[in-house]
């Protein structure tokens, strides 16, 4: 495989050279949206109710995923080769692979956090964190 001449593949990706607002332009809309999502997630994490804390963590991890995809650039075609005319510019496949992993792991941690919540309730008879702490 090494040393072979590659011809069928594109050589540019959207985030660096193509796309309307991507080149050197800050993603204002996304910055606002992500700021709000993180703020709301933070507010939830600081609640007494364990379930809300889990929600907060979920929202923050969703927002982090969106942030990663945004970093890769939003313009460009689907990163799949041999689908016709998409050879010019594709979106960054690396962040997508990263986020795909992150989504799945996020699912694992959410499931774990939920069962932990359940166990906390079983052990302490409450899901009020301030009461759990007192005992």
């Amino acid at each position: 495989m090494s040393g072979t001449v590659l011809r069928t593949v594109p050589s540019t990706i959207a985030s660096t050279s193509a796309g309307g607002e991507a080149s050197g332009q800050p993603q204002v809309i996304l910055a606002v949206v992500l700021g709000l999502l993180f703020a709301l997630g933070t507010f939830l994490v600081l609640r007494k109710d364990v379930v809300r804390v889990v929600w907060g963590v979920t929202i923050i991890s969703q927002a982090a995923n969106v942030y990663l995809v945004t970093m890769g650039g939003l313009r460009g075609s689907v990163p799949i080769l041999s689908h016709g005319g998409a050879h010019g510019a594709v979106t960054d496949p690396l962040v997508q692979a990263l986020v795909l992993t992150a989504i799945v792991i996020g699912f694992g941690t959410t499931a774990f956090a939920l069962v932990l919540t359940y166990r906390v309730y079983e052990e302490h008879g409450t899901i009020d964190l301030s009461e759990v702490n007192e005992r």
Partner: protein, 801 residues
């Protein structure tokens, strides 16, 4: 002759491998695992013994790319320590099989003891300062676990913490000393090295140059002191001896093994090992003073002790002081004192601890004041105690006599040469030895006389508990008799030759070691005579001496424990950390965490002079704007949800909006994954919520405002971060590499693509380029699944708090 690499590696690996299987084996064979451990120790002993007579370094490439290798060094000193560790180990494991019969936590006990043995062998054979340090600290950690064996007892916890605190802190001082040596070796030898001994570029082989280098850098005394502190902490030298008496909370076999025969010898070993490198007048002053001071102070404290294990603990510190003093003195007698006494002390002190264990086990008390007349019930034990205790007292012809004689000779020699204040050395040595004599005879007295009424029937100990001390005392007796026969001209050849090699290893050139009873009135023989006569005359006043010492040590400011406890309780009281950061409340931790991250990020931006980009246009696709707006509204709804069900449903809206966002961002794989996961999460939440109470927790206004402020700080930080990072354009994106290589090479034509090639770059990255990451991801899911099962199933098996 060169030592064998395979054998040495096996010696190091054997205890650790055995420790790994011990918990499993314990489930199968129960407490008989003690004999398995004894067999492992015996195997290690045989392997080390097979290297007897070899000398040199073996090194094994560890991480060739970084030029890191594991080097092991064999000489007299490392063989001596290795043989003591594994040999006493065999006896201790055998003894434990009977002693630990009714005790809890046997699997943990044997595992930790095996790990300790491996670590100690590592200390003995390490030829490299870093490896030495790692094994050194490992012995501290295993000692911590073993001292705290009875986890639910406060005394045990206090003792374990104290030992850990002092020995590990001492180890860190030693590490600084090692690093200084490393730095200086760079200037002196051209290439900085951690290799202590054995090769041409090693530190000890260039001792003269290293000493000059250290002196010209002004670091010689600091290095001696730093290494001295490490050794003193480990070998319980005054004033760091305070952890050793407390360490007696451990089961008695542990005290015999770690806290008399082996672990505390690590510090002594270090002093012996560094003696050729740093042996100078400064060294002599520091270690001879430290050692003799410890020898005397600890012997005096031992006289005041009423618990036999406490007596033995102070006595151990005292004898370690004797060895340190020996290694400190620069004459060949000093080297001989240390080398010979390491062996003698291991033999008699381990035997005495095992005797103490038998007494405590069979008579039910460890207090001298309650014990007496045990010789009738425990005749063999009494004989063992007699040989060992008289050796400890330094009475001829028992083994301790000869090494003490050597110390007298060494101190006298030093005083004769230097004169002046150095005459204090022999005086202090005699003074300390008198107390040693006193407490040794006091220990022995618990077997003499009539048995007090309070002690009920004393059983004779089981064979497994009796055999080890008998063997140790026999060996001690043979060493003693060797001196008697040597007086008549028949030398104990192999032993004398072995000690000779140890003496050589600690820096004496062309040693000639032999020991025998004094045949003429040398100064040393006179000092011994004074010790014994004064000891015998003052023994009738033992009770008054002990009471006097007790009154003395009741004065707080001269007790090191006073300072230790004061320091620790002061640290406990300073609740700056525990009151504001470490409150045990999630919200406190989360608040500090969020604010710290936001603060650091902002500080980083301003420190690096990041310019926030000007916002020139808000251009965005209408579809994207709508989707994101719905997502934010959904998140807001989650925050304000009146019930759990409402919250979960709105959370799902957010999740599905994110999925649509992925579609719009040309990420179909993410969208598919997100849809599947979002559905699963929804189901999961609904399943769990069914079992949880309807609790929502009211939010009071002040708290909401405070949390709102924290959230706002986080939100603004994220906003700025996204602005900065999306505005920047990296020159060469990593993704380019994958885009170029994900597809099928041109010469394969379209065959592979048409029939299932790697067209999807994201998939190719996941299963090909970064397949290990994907495997890691799968492991995380598997771990989460296991944890979920554990959390639920173990509860159902009745395992509650």
């Amino acid at each position: 002759m060169q030592p064998s690499q395979g054998v040495l590696l096996a010696v190091l690996a054997l205890p650790f491998l055995a420790a790994a299987v011990t918990p499993l084996l314990y489930r199968v064979v129960g407490e008989r695992v003690a004999y398995f451990a004894a067999a492992v120790a015996a195997g290690a002993f045989a392997l080390i013994a097979s290297q007897f007579g070899t000398h040199g370094t073996v090194s094994l490439q560890w991480i060739p790319a970084l030029d890191v290798s594991l080097a092991l060094y064999v000489d007299g000193l490392s063989l001596l320590l290795g043989l003591i560790v594994s040999g006493v180990g065999v006896l201790i494991f055998t003894y434990s099989g009977a002693y630990m019969h009714d005790e809890p936590g046997k699997a943990k006990y044997y595992t930790t003891l095996l790990v300790f043995m491996g670590a100690m062998l590592g200390v003995a054979f390490a030829a490299d300062l870093l490896a030495l340090f790692v094994f050194w600290e490992l012995t501290s950690v295993s000692s911590f676990i073993l001292i705290g064996h009875y986890q639910d007892q406060d005394d045990s916890q206090y003792a374990a913490r104290k030992a850990m605190f002092i020995t590990v802190a001492g180890g860190l001082f030693m590490l600084v000393g090692f690093l200084l040596l490393y730095t200086v070796s760079g200037d002196v030898l051209g290439e900085a090295t951690f290799r202590l001994v054995g090769t041409e570029g090693a530190l000890i082989e260039n001792a003269g140059a290293m000493q000059e280098g250290l002196r010209s850098a002004g670091l010689f005394v600091p290095v001696v002191v730093l290494i001295g502190i490490g050794a003193a902490a480990k070998s319980a030298q005054v004033p760091l001896h305070i952890w050793l008496p407390n360490a007696m909370e451990a089961p008695t076999p542990v005290s015999a093994f770690l806290h008399s025969a082996t672990m505390v010898k690590a510090g002594v070993y270090l002093v012996g090992r560094f003696r050729p490198l740093l042996g100078t007048p400064e060294w002599e002053l520091f270690f001879a003073t430290l050692g003799l001071l410890t020898m005397t102070v600890a012997a005096i404290l031992a006289v005041a002790a009423d618990d036999i294990k406490e007596l033995l603990a102070y006595s151990t510190a005292s004898h370690l002081g004797l060895i340190i003093a020996g290694f400190g003195l620069q004459s060949v007698y000093g080297a001989e004192t240390g080398a010979f006494h390491i062996l003698n002390h291991a033999l008699f002190k381990a035997a005495l601890f095992l005797v103490a264990g038998i007494v405590a086990h069979e008579a039910g008390t460890r207090l001298l004041s309650e014990l007496g007349g045990l010789w009738r019930a425990l005749p063999i034990t009494a004989a063992v105690a007699a040989i060992a205790a008289l050796g400890m007292a330094g009475l001829p012809p028992f083994n301790g006599f000869y090494s003490k004689e050597l110390l007298f000779e060494a101190t006298y020699h030093a005083a004769e040469h230097a004169g002046g204040l150095w005459w204090l050395l022999p005086a202090v040595a005699v003074f300390g030895s008198i107390f040693t004599f006193l407490y040794s005879i006091r220990f022995l007295s618990l077997f003499a006389g009539e048995k007090p009424e309070a002690i009920e029937h004393v059983h004779s100990p089981p064979m497994a508990m009796l055999a080890p001390p008998v063997l140790l005392a026999t060996l001690a007796g043979i060493v003693g008799l060797g001196g008697v026969s040597a007086t008549a001209g028949i030398h104990l050849g192999p032993l004398e030759h072995f000690i000779e090699r140890v003496v050589e290893a600690v820096g004496a050139s062309e040693p000639h070691f032999g020991y025998h009873l004094p045949t003429s009135l040398t100064p040393a023989a006179g000092m011994s005579a004074i010790t014994i006569v004064v000891g015998a005359v003052t023994y009738p006043f033992y009770g008054r001496i002990a009471a006097g010492v007790q009154r003395l040590i009741a004065i707080d400011p001269i007790r090191p424990n006073f300072y230790y406890d004061g320091l620790v309780s002061w640290l406990d009281r300073t609740t700056i950390v525990s009151g504001t950061v470490h409150t045990g409340r999630l919200r406190t931790y989360a608040t500090w965490f969020f604010l710290a991250v936001a603060g650091l990020a902002i500080a980083g931006y301003s420190g690096a002079g990041v310019v926030f980009p000007a916002i020139s246009s808000l251009a965005a696709e209408p579809a994207m704007v709508i989707v994101l707006a719905v997502a934010v509204v959904a998140a807001l709804a989650v925050t304000r949800a009146p019930s759990h069900i409402a919250g979960v449903l709105t959370l799902s809206i957010l999740g599905f909006m994110v999925a649509i966002f992925y579609i719009l961002a040309s990420a179909p794989d993410l969208a598919l994954t997100q849809l599947v996961i979002e559905t699963l999460v929804l189901v999961l939440f609904l399943l769990i919520l069914d079992h949880l109470p309807e609790f929502y927790g009211e939010v009071d206004r002040i708290r909401a405002l405070r949390d709102g402020a924290v959230s706002a700080v986080v939100g603004i930080t994220v906003f700025l971060t996204v602005l900065v990072s999306t505005a920047a354009t990296p020159g060469k994106p990593i993704a380019q590499y994958f885009i170029e290589r994900a597809g099928v090479p041109a010469e394969h034509g379209s065959t592979l693509l048409d029939f299932g090639g790697g067209g999807n770059i994201v998939n190719v990255i996941l299963v090909d380029f970064r397949a290990f990451d994907t495997m890691g991801e799968i492991s995380v899911i598997a771990m989460a699944a296991l944890s979920v099962i554990t959390l639920i199933a173990m509860r159902e098996r009745g395992e509650t708090q």
